[in-house]
Amino acid sequence: MVDNKAMIHVEGLCKSFGDNHVLNGVDIDIHKGEVLVIIGPSGCGKSTFLRCLNLLETPSAGRIFLDGVDITAPSVNINKQRQKMMMVFQHFNLFPHKTILENLTIAPIKLKKLPKAEADEKAMSILRRVGLEDKAYAYPSQLSGGQKQRVAICRALAMDPEMILFDEPTSALDPEMVGEVLEVMKELANSGITMVCVTHEMGFAREVASKIIFFDQGVIAECGTPDEVFSNPKNPRLRDFLSKIL
């Protein structure tokens, strides 16, 4: 039906909150293994776009295809579709009443019907990957911000998603903790998982992005490789934005 190579195909996506027209027709394809970085000034709709992708916000118009399936169609089981794309939030949103291990295993156990032992084992191996296996039985409140965000990434990974959406994952962190989270994200990017990241970390964007898009006035104002976007920005607003942020 649509470009089948694209994992995500977005067509004329619009979103308004009352009179506030945040997205005014966004078209984009996201391919498997791609690391798409979204940049733009505050309030330009980056989060809204990301949240439309997994339908945490209901688009006002337009269609979103995930693996060729129109997930904006009313007949679609969105809960099933969401399991393919996990989200990592700015404020972690770990479950404070569950241990780190339970944070990782509850979704696989309840939603994928994974046996507990298997889920535990898998969660431990994911935690080991980010060096947090000794925190498995701790509660989120006992962790630092950087550790919490790494756990949040692990929680997403535990569902074996096809892609992960990151909404400013390092913005709520103390500066000294940003590095450890970016490290994990870089490793993920290299492992070939599809990622869509909203971030203000331009160094990270330059290093790992396969494509960068710049949002302005609710549309994609510029789109290109890190080199194109950073070295040769065409859009005057992008130039302005980069001059402020770099």
């Binding site: 809960n79 399991q83 996990m86 404070p96 009443h97 409140s141 569902m159």
Partner: protein, 274 residues
Amino acid sequence: MRKRLLNKKYAYYIAAIAVLLIVFAVVGFAAEGAASADTGFFAEFKAKLINNFVKEDRWKYLTSGLLNTLIISFFAVIIGVVLGFIIAILRSACDMLDKKNIFTKTLNGILKAYLTVIRGTPALIQLLIIYYVIFTSPNVSKLFVAVISFGLNSSAYIAEIVRSGIMSIDKGQFEAGRSLGFTYAQTMWHFILPQAFKNILPALGNEFIVLIKETSIAGYIGINELTRGGDFIRSRTYEAFLPLIAVAVIYLVIVMILTKLVDMMERRLKTDGR
């Protein structure tokens, strides 16, 4: 921290014992004051105790009354909690779901009206209306009527307590649950309600306490609950003091036990997480 807990615990017991001692002292003085000059205080007191509680097995008015009070409270609490949680969850769903349509709006309107009416009228009037207007058949058990009435009444208060608990949970928790692929109901069940419950436990405990004491109006439809039991003894012996104090002490003890239980539960929930 541990030391403070211990101190608090002792303070609680000491205060409780002090209250009981004061009650007995007052009882003693009253009994003494009423006593004639030539009989001793204890003998007079004993006579009064016998007259009020032992003679004609009058203590049974208190025990059977207590049983009815407990039955009404217990089942009313169950109805109140179940209905209250359902109402609260439905109302938050109506608020939160982005699919706002005629159905959710109507449902929300009906629930709001229910809460307004129940919370805006006295429990006694509700009890009388349910007994005399709704269940007019004489075959309907009075206990059943009381359970329904107090259950409905407390459901409105519990609904608002639970809803405030749900709203106190960060919206991010909800989004985290949904983004993992959980349905609205699953997210509520696994993530929102457990956290909300911990926050509202003190308020819920308070509501149970209010409910138990409020059942004292069940006597108005002729149920022999605790208050009426004491009052009945008074009407037989023409002595108000001992029976009423006895009733008050029994309520006090129930409430103290309940408070203790809620306290224990609160502490248990506190140990896991945060």
